[in-house]
Symmetry: C2
Subunit: 214 residues, 2 copies
Amino acid sequence: MSKVTSHISISVDGFVAGPNQSSENPLGEGGERLHEWVVATEGWRAQHGKEGGERGADSEVAEEVTRNIGAQIMGRNMFGPPGGGPWDESWRGWWGEDPPFHVPVYVLTHHPRESVEMQGGTTYHFVTEGIESALDQAKAAAGGKDVLIAGGANAIQQYLAAGLLDELYLHIAPVVLGGGERLLENVGDPTLEPVEVVASPAATHVRYRVGARL
Amino acid sequence: MSKVTSHISISVDGFVAGPNQSSENPLGEGGERLHEWVVATEGWRAQHGKEGGERGADSEVAEEVTRNIGAQIMGRNMFGPPGGGPWDESWRGWWGEDPPFHVPVYVLTHHPRESVEMQGGTTYHFVTEGIESALDQAKAAAGGKDVLIAGGANAIQQYLAAGLLDELYLHIAPVVLGGGERLLENVGDPTLEPVEVVASPAATHVRYRVGARL
């Protein structure tokens, strides 16, 4: 059964980026600590063309979240460039000519742009008709596989608030950021049901099924 | 080895009470949902003189957190009455003449008061000399057992910020409150290490060892 899923690293105090985000420091102060659990893994490193890394529960999670994804949706801020606005067509994302997605990626934007085909199976499509249209297109492209809401926080919030998210997988890093960008703001009162927990010294991974709205 | 420990129920978005707390609604709007996991358990019900309840992982957690506690510390707001200020000596806490603590309880307050001996081993002591003095007294009284910082959030924050807490056990309820009282505010940047995770459909219990300050 195809589902709409999302996963994101979050601090114990609920932040997905630290304070004072900027184009030089897009994760905010201390925000890189949220991702230490994953960048150390063999699974993540292999996806990004790097050798080595740790095997274990965290690596299995890093691999598992990329399985069975047929299309992705991301917000304009995640795709970049910083600042937004009309497209500079020389901008082809943060991830180089062979991005680690390998599926169609639908970018939510207010500014139309022709699709951009990258190497390795990634094609960027730019959707100006809103989140539901992007989801319809992504589902059609996913061929029965899952659709990943890749981020950032604002895109996940919009799908969660609209009742369009089936699953939210949180990677709770053992970090207190004290400020920054919150994930669960302006999302109403979703019904969450923890259906899987994977624990490691580096993070606590809790998969929530998102149910009917209260 | 005696330790200073605390445990508290918290929403996925980091709140330990809902918005608009009042004397009629001390947990705030929706705050009672944070505690559904525990009030359903046989372990909690037995501690509160009630029969029945569910057995299982949550009940084991409810029982485990009361084991090996030799003394407790709580903030004035938790002890009550609402509003604070100089003591009305007719106030003997929220928990009746036979409170569920069964150990000495040190209440942090700005207003001196004679100790009050209750039934079942609970004696309330009122400490005006600050959190370190309360901890020294509680450790001496605990006879080698652990000292529990019982709450509320502000008392836990103070001990965490002062580097005096050895362990923080969070019961993460699958609830989004959207506002209210945050636990991890004004606590600086403690080093947290998840050392135990207990998962159930009703809550994800993560025990953090609190390490040296960064």
